[in-house]
Structure formats: C-alpha cells, structure tokens
C-alpha cells in the first residue's frame, strides 16, 4: 500500500471530516431529540457509519414508524454500496474475508476520490480519506448527542446543505469527461423521475443504471478525481 497515497488521502479527508463533523453533530442532536439515548446515538454512528442510512432510519422512527420500515428505508439508502463494492473489489488484495473487512472503509466521498477513472481504485487513498471522516463522524455525534439542547433544529443553521454542496464539488472533477456528463445527466433524471413514485432510497439506487452508458468502453486513463479535487 502506497504511504504517499495514504497521506494524500488523509489530506483530502481533512476538509471532508469538517463537513462530516457538522452533519453527524446534527444526527446526534436529532437522534436524542427523537428519543435515542446518548449512548445509542453514539453507538449508531460508531458501528453503522453511514450518514444516509442513519438519517433515513431516524426520519422513519421520528415520524412514528417501526423497526421494519426504518430498516427498509436505511437499506434502500445504503444499497448503492453494493454497486460501489463490486466496482472496488478488483482493487482489493487478499482473500474474501480480508476484502470484506477492507470494503467497510467505503463511504461516498472516499470511494469517489479513490476512483482512478478507469474502473480501478487507489486503495491506500481510500483508507486515508476515510479515517479522518470516521473520527469526525463519531466525534460530531458525541458532541451533538451531549449538547443537543443547545443547538435546537440543525436545519435552522443551514447544515442540511453541506453534503449536497460537497458532493457537487467532487462531481465537478468527474464531469470533465463527456461520458461522465451523460451518466450524471441520465442518473439525475432517473432519480428525479422516480421521487414521486418510489420510497426514499430507490431513486438513488436506480440512478446507478445510468452508468450503463459506459457499456462496451473501458474507462479513460490518466483521470484522477483525487488530484483534481485537491487542486480545486
């Protein structure tokens, strides 16, 4: 594993972790307000470590939903990691158990940044990017769960726009490739078209089908989203 890539991942993960801290802080606040104990909120972030799934489940139980509905919504939101894991698999060494453990390091931003754009992934950069984000995710939840009453509604502070804005920043580097622009347009269109008709999570999962525009073509070489994001 390249230590240089790992260090570059840590550097790329630092600003991401600031965003993640604020977002997980809002999760801690909302979870305790919904009825989770402080320990439950912290354990959720420490062991689940999946923002979209956590927020989806929380939204369901806060609205009076049961365990099945909450788990179903979380599963839908999280199902995109199936596709991400399949894409990542050839870049991971070792046996099935080791690869399954290393696959736990995948989160949206680190997966996108570690993509070399040719269908392969920089494993060291993936780990480096995820580590600070994990630390800040847990730290933010602890802060929010313990100090929740001081913050009130996180949306009042505009915190809900952090991640979409950040994802656009990651996308900008990718969209320099014409075929990536087509995939993005089609994926966004699929997701928006399905929003009125499907449960939360399904539109994003279905948008993955837009990647089929790449059928029959190998990914371009020389494209490094991580380097371009770092230079942004």
């Amino acid at each position: 594993m390249s230590s240089e890539s790992f260090r570059r991942g840590l550097r790329l993960g630092a600003p991401l972790s600031a965003v993640g801290f604020v977002l997980s802080l809002s999760f801690g606040v909302l979870a305790v307000q919904a009825g989770f104990t402080v320990l439950q909120a912290i354990v959720t972030s420490a062991l689940v470590f999946a923002g979209s799934a956590q927020f989806a489940a929380l939204a369901i139980v806060s609205g009076g939903g049961g365990i099945g509905a909450a788990l179903g919504a979380a599963t839908m939101m999280h199902s995109r990691f199936l596709a991400m894991g399949v894409a990542l698999a050839p870049s991971l060494p070792g046996g099935p158990l080791r690869r399954a453990v290393e696959g736990q390091a995948v989160i949206d931003a680190s997966w996108a940044l570690a993509s070399r754009g040719d269908g392969t992934f920089d494993r060291a950069l993936l780990f480096g990017t995820t580590i600070p984000q994990y630390a800040s995710w847990v730290a933010g939840t602890i802060t929010g769960a313990l100090l929740g009453d001081l913050f009130g509604d996180p949306e009042r502070f505009g915190l809900d726009v952090l991640f979409p804005t950040f994802f656009v920043g990651i996308l900008v580097a990718d969209l320099r490739r014409p075929r990536a622009r087509v995939a993005a347009l089609v994926g966004g269109g699929i997701a928006l078209a399905l929003v009125p008709f499907t449960p939360a999570g399904v539109p994003v999962l279905a948008a993955g089908a837009a990647a089929l525009v790449g059928l029959g073509r190998s990914g371009p070489t020389g494209h490094r989203p991580a380097e371009e994001a770092a230079a942004a």
Binding site: Q40, L47, A83, A87, A100, F163, T165, A180, P203
Partner: protein
C-alpha cells in the same frame, strides 16, 4: 417516536448487520480478479451517476414531492462559487450561511 429503548437497540443491531453486509458482499464475492472491459467502463461512470442522484434528491425532493426551496438556492450559490474556482470548503460554508440566512429571514 414509538420505539422503546430495547427496540432502538434492536434497530441499531440490524442496521450494523445490514450496512456491514452490504459493503462486504461485493469485495468478498467479486474478488481480486480484473474486471472485464465492459464492466470497467460501467463502473467508471457509477460515481457521477450516483453522486448526481444524491445531490438532486437532496435539493429537489421533499418526501415524494419535487420542490425548489431554501436548500436548492443555497446549493446553487455554492455551485456558482465553485464555477468561479472558489475553494470547495469555502463554497460549502457560504452555502450553509445562505441557507441559514434565508431561513432566518423567512
């Protein structure tokens, strides 16, 4: 919330198994084999497709309704700043301030 403390623990346990399993299946089953050419072309486009879907659903979906709201405007401001090569983190901070400001005014 209608769940008791024990039920919340049950939910957390189920989510841990679900998220860990979801992330493990691909790497464990596909293995360290090189991808076929057609698949590498597809997987290279998964990131832009999924990230775009995450962004548009975050800013336009309100439950099962499509709507333009404060979050849409705030993210748009962040995007414009990035187009003018403003640093990503600064663009995020400005987007948050715009959303907070508009909600304070509204």
């Amino acid at each position: 919330m209608t769940l008791g403390e024990g039920q919340v623990w049950l939910l957390i346990g189920a989510m841990v198994l679900m998220t860990a399993g979801t992330k493990a299946i691909g790497p464990a089953l596909v293995g360290g084999r090189p991808l076929p050419r057609w698949f590498s072309g597809v997987s290279a486009l998964l990131a832009p497709a999924l990230l775009t879907a995450l962004v548009v659903t975050a800013v336009f979906a309100d439950g099962r309704r499509l709507a333009v709201g404060v979050d849409t405007v705030a993210v748009a401001v962040g995007v414009v700043l990035m187009m003018f090569r403003v640093h990503l983190v600064l663009a995020c901070v400005v987007a948050v301030l715009v959303a907070a400001g508009l909600r304070a005014l509204g």
